[in-house]
Subunit: 416 residues, 2 copies
């Protein structure tokens, strides 16, 4: 049995502490932290009458909208290649359950992949990410990791990529993705590429989907949780390859979906159809969100950099993944020798919630954590709209105060 | 790997045939066939702003509403005993995955239980239902079935009940439920009682939940799919027992839910909170729905009875489960020797869609099927509202025509 998702558990714990009046800087949860676009809310309300069970994969209308969205983004897609579900999480699980073989994972990577692989009865083969960016295994290490896994009796057949990446907030560049895809092809791996952060790359043109390089063996997942800040609406999609191999995978996922979730709720499919049609209000909202995420994540990165802490500069979404190795002596003097101890210390002593790298697959002694900056935009819808519309969000009092507290905390950690 | 849910697959197939212009009487799908209550649609629209991930089990507000609903229904419940999810189907799967041991199933029973048990790596021990009603194993057969299963190496620890029942549309009476609960207690079985049709019992007072008899070892599931005809909204709940045993089960389900579906969508929780508060418009809507279901199901039952076909008289929801054994010679003369052949014949030759008993666990040669009468209420929202408000729905042209066609078909089947 798996244990509870660490990221959801931390979020619940922080919200419980806040409810008792504690002033917590919440950098521990991957929620986009922005309000609902009114036009999307209207589309949901307009779809309220849709109370029939839809086909398991979704309505033709919603599937066509997703196919159109992907096609416009450079990945020609037919509606028959699309499955919708209450969250891409459910679809990822169904894909892992349907595909044969064990799972190769970049490390660090999202907490849920390894848990789902375990649920699906699979082994995981962790491969560290390269220095350039996260979300992909280091090509220099992949071949030997596969050989070692096979020698241990594993059967690696699936490679999960995250593009753009959670937890590092980086985007593996086209050359790196191509190198990884060539290795996946050579070693017979099916690629499952989680592109839930795709539209939040600060340079959208820099995202090279493996589905364009390995069309016959790449599954893509995505959704509206991050791009449109609709995590609580639970709208996800999965794209299978064209042709009979893809249809077989879709049949397997549909069979499992029919016994686990039936379909994405009809009103949510109506809202999804509206958003994936990419009308101007949606495009403007996403553009403004991307700009805000970039500005605040970069400001946070500057604070880590100023403290001499190693951290890849974010290129997408709202994540940083700093490595506090440089502060190991000062931390050890406080009894902090693991990533979990560091995260606990930050929460208990400084009221800053982050998720320790161990939850993403790091070794316990690594002094890394994921900091998500998106819950700094405000606690109320008003604050969040103000941040979204601001030309200088970092100077808003509630954001600047949080960043200053982060700065002060890093200085305190680094002091003797 | 499981195959696709037979009931969803048939629904998709019938809708595809209808799209080509075929005139199909759709008795093959367990959808309640009624429009959305406007106040529930308004509650969904009001909740559109709820785009945060909620706790996995749901918001306090929604869980309290469900607990209140159950408490008013005679089952005192605290909000901490309630978990919400996108459909009780997902929760049933999580419960079966969390509980140890193999699964005892009444037969016939809902198509999904056996598939989920298989997905959870469990054996199923089928036990026929008694003549009095479905949804429970025949107490006369249960003890010996358990002994035989144990002799085969199985470890029966879970008993699934359906109260009121799908597919028979009946309600096991209090004495029968008590007898089954005593046996469950004696044999150490945890009861998982699917009460999704609870509010559609024509005599609500006749439903005796096992949770009142075996409070420490009964899990109850329910939702809004049937009572409120909101199948396409995917709102389900699960109630664990009070105390530490219940909390352990809830923790297991929450852990699994955190990796599979995260939470029920926020706007859906807002709608659920409204409905489970049981305001007058909801109570009136459910009462009218119950009356319509009873009237049309009884009219259909009269047609089977007139044809001399054995069929339990429906006591809840919108299902009948006729046994055409009496027509075996006439059916055999047409080459029909199995329930599946009978269902195929009804669809191909008479344009009547029903689901063969084999999908509910019957032996192939049994000439039984489930007929759902709820999709006779109309194809448009207008027709459905008219049916719901009618004092004599059976005389509405679209309902009477369908029932006449059923009558004519049974006469044709019985002719030499």
């Amino acid at each position: 049995m798996v244990s509870r998702s660490a990221t959801l558990a931390l979020n619940d714990a922080i919200n419980a502490r806040r409810a008792t009046g504690e002033d917590i800087i919440h950098l521990g949860f991957g929620e986009a932290g922005l309000p609902v676009l009114p036009e999307a809310a209207a589309a949901l309300a307009d779809g309220a009458g849709q109370n029939s069970y839809t086909p398991v994969a979704g309505t033709v209308r919603a599937r066509e909208a997703v196919a159109g969205y992907l096609s416009r983004g450079g990945l020609p897609t037919d509606a028959s290649q699309i499955l919708l579900a209450p969250g891409s999480k459910a679809l990822l699980y169904a894909a892992l359950s349907t595909l044969p073989g064990d799972v190769v994972l970049p490390v660090p990577s999202w907490v849920t992949y390894a848990a789902q692989a375990q649920l699906a009865g699979k082994r995981t083969i962790p491969v560290p990410i390269p220095g350039a960016a996260g979300g992909v295994p280091d090509p220099e290490l992949l071949t030997s990791a596969l050989a070692a896994a096979r020698a241990r009796g594993a059967d690696p057949r699936i490679l999960i990529l995250t593009l753009p990446d959670n937890p590092t907030g980086t985007v593996a560049g086209p050359a790196l993705v191509q190198q990884v895809c060539e290795l996946a092809d050579r070693h017979g791996l099916t690629v499952v590429c989680d592109e839930i952060y795709r539209d939040l790359a600060y340079d959208p043109a820099a995202v090279q989907s493996p589905a364009a390089l390995l069309p016959d063996r790449t599954i893509v997942t995505g959704g509206l949780s991050k791009t449109m800040a609709l995590g609580g609406w639970r709208i996800g999609f999965l794209r299978v390859p064209e042709g009979s191999a893809g249809h077989r995978i879709a049949d397997g996922i549909t069979a499992l979906g029919s016994e686990l979730w039936s379909c994405l709720a009809g009103p949510m499919q109506a809202a999804a159809a509206y958003v994936f049609d990419s009308p101007p209000p949606v495009l403007e909202h996403v553009q403004a969100s991307r700009r805000l995420h970039a500005t605040v994540a970069h400001a946070a990165h500057d604070i880590f950099a100023k403290a001499g802490i190693s951290c890849r500069r974010p290129q997408a979404a709202f994540y940083l993944y700093p490595d506090l190795e440089v502060l190991r002596p000062e931390l050890a003097a406080r009894g902090i020798r693991t990533g979990v101890a560091l995260a606990d210390h930050l929460l208990e002593e400084h009221g800053i919630g982050v998720l320790a790298g161990e939850h993403f697959g790091d070794a316990p002694e690594q002094l890394r954590f994921r900091a998500a900056t998106s819950l700094l935009y405000g606690r109320t819808a008003d604050e969040r709209w103000t941040a979204l519309r601001s030309t200088d969000p970092v100077s808003l009092p509630w954001i600047s105060a949080a960043l200053e507290r982060l700065d002060g905390t890093l200085r305190a950690l680094g002091s003797k």
